[in-house]
Every structure is written in C-alpha cells, then in structure tokens.
Subunit: 134 residues, 2 copies
C-alpha cells in the first residue's frame, strides 16, 4: 500500500500505529479471515482463514499458513504444489477482525491453476421469482 | 484484474465462465464476505459482509450495500458519509464463498477517515509465554 495511513505519515517511523495481537478479534471458531494480495501487481489472490497458530507460523516463517475449515487442519500454502507465498506485509483492519496479507507468490494462488481464485465474474441477480424474499 | 482467468481468455467473450448466484455459498448466518478493492489503485479498502438482499441491492443500484453484523441491519455504504462506492465489477472465488467487489470510491472507505481500513501493520507475535498454546 502506498498510503497506509494519513496518521502514520505524520511522524517518524517509530510513530506508526501498529496493531498488536491483542487488537485482533477472532470469530467464534477462533478464526480471522485473511485477504491475500499480490504485493507486486495488487491483484487480490484469495481469502482464507487463520487461527492463532496459522498466524504465528505465518509471521515466524514468512510464508502463508492457514486453517482449512473443510479439512480441519493447518495448511502451509504451497507445501504440496510449491506455490508458496512469501509475506511482505500484514495489515489489520480498523476493527481488528480481518487481515490483509501482502505476498510475493511463487505460483498461482488457486487450486485450479488460475493466478487468482477470483477468476469468475458474478452474473446478475436471478430473475424475479427465483428469490424467496416475498 | 488484468488476468481474470486463463480459461476465460481462450474463447470469445461469450465463453467467459461466469459464477451465478446458485454458485454462491453463504455461511450459516446467510452471509458472504466481500473484499472491496479500489478498481483504479488496486488498494484493498475493506472487508464487509453481504446477505442476499445486500448483494441484490449492490447489483441493482451499482453501489455497495452490506449487512452490518454488529447493528443487525442493511447498510448502504456512504448513505450518511457520502462516501459511496460505485461498483465496477464483482467476482466470485473458485469455491463461491467469497466475493471481490471492485469499486470507484467517492471518499475514504474507513470510518476513521483513512482511505483504507487496513492502515495498521500487524506487530509481530507476542513474546513466548503470553500465548496459551502449551
């Protein structure tokens, strides 16, 4: 991000307002969503979930780790595919319930082989009558 | 996105693989997370939640609408601040459980006045002993 914050630019680098782990708000399952963005292109690659252990490993190793909700296990991104993601920065949002993880990816983010998991434009809403709101 | 999908580039524009509403996987609360990205700068602005009505209104009006989990109500972004977000594209991810909404924002995304809600870098993990994993 070129413009991380107006406030952060006023003072010296020591005055940057960091979020701490204590600021993070985990959901009822102990998870926090992490948006993964290519640090070079700005492309949003994927959204996955971290528990405390996944975030700790991500910070410790400098490569993304997640919690797989479907498999119920820790997941080192790229462990089998080789498409690891080297972390260049982690940001917390204003209320601490989402992370933005900027990475340099070693390959496609998506298990389909696509660069990003967001490769399908969403079609317009279904025709009237196919929704059950009234 | 410059590279929405390898597959989508093989054929004519009619062959682009769209996601439909039927492909979307809402969570147990009927919500789906939406990553909001500035279409011009690539900056990730915020993550918020949509229910079906919020997504329908977003597509219908071309401005972002969300479901506020804290207030328990629909929320037209910018309705009071004027900082609306004009939608330029909506993408579904590979498994349909997250949306990427690209917008042209009329003002800061964050209620703090920051351009993006992700203005705080996350500090490193707490020292050993302050986590209760063992």
């Amino acid at each position: 991000m070129d413009e991380p914050a107006t406030d952060a630019k006023r003072g010296t680098t020591e005055m940057v307002d960091h979020a701490t782990w204590a600021d993070l708000r985990w959901d009822e399952h102990g998870l926090i969503p992490a948006v993964v963005q290519d640090a070079r292109t700005g492309q949003v690659l994927m959204v996955a979930w971290m528990n405390a252990e996944a975030l700790r490993l991500t910070q410790e190793t400098g490569e993304t780790h997640f919690w797989s909700r479907s498999r119920g296990e820790l997941w080192h991104k790229g462990a089998t595919s080789g498409h690891t993601q080297r972390v260049t920065a982690i940001w917390a949002d204003c209320d601490g319930d989402t992370l933005l993880v900027q990475v340099e990816p070693a390959g496609p983010a998506c298990h389909t082989g696509a660069v990003t998991c967001f490769f399908r434009p969403l079609a317009d809403q279904p025709e009237e009558g196919s929704l059950s709101d009234e």
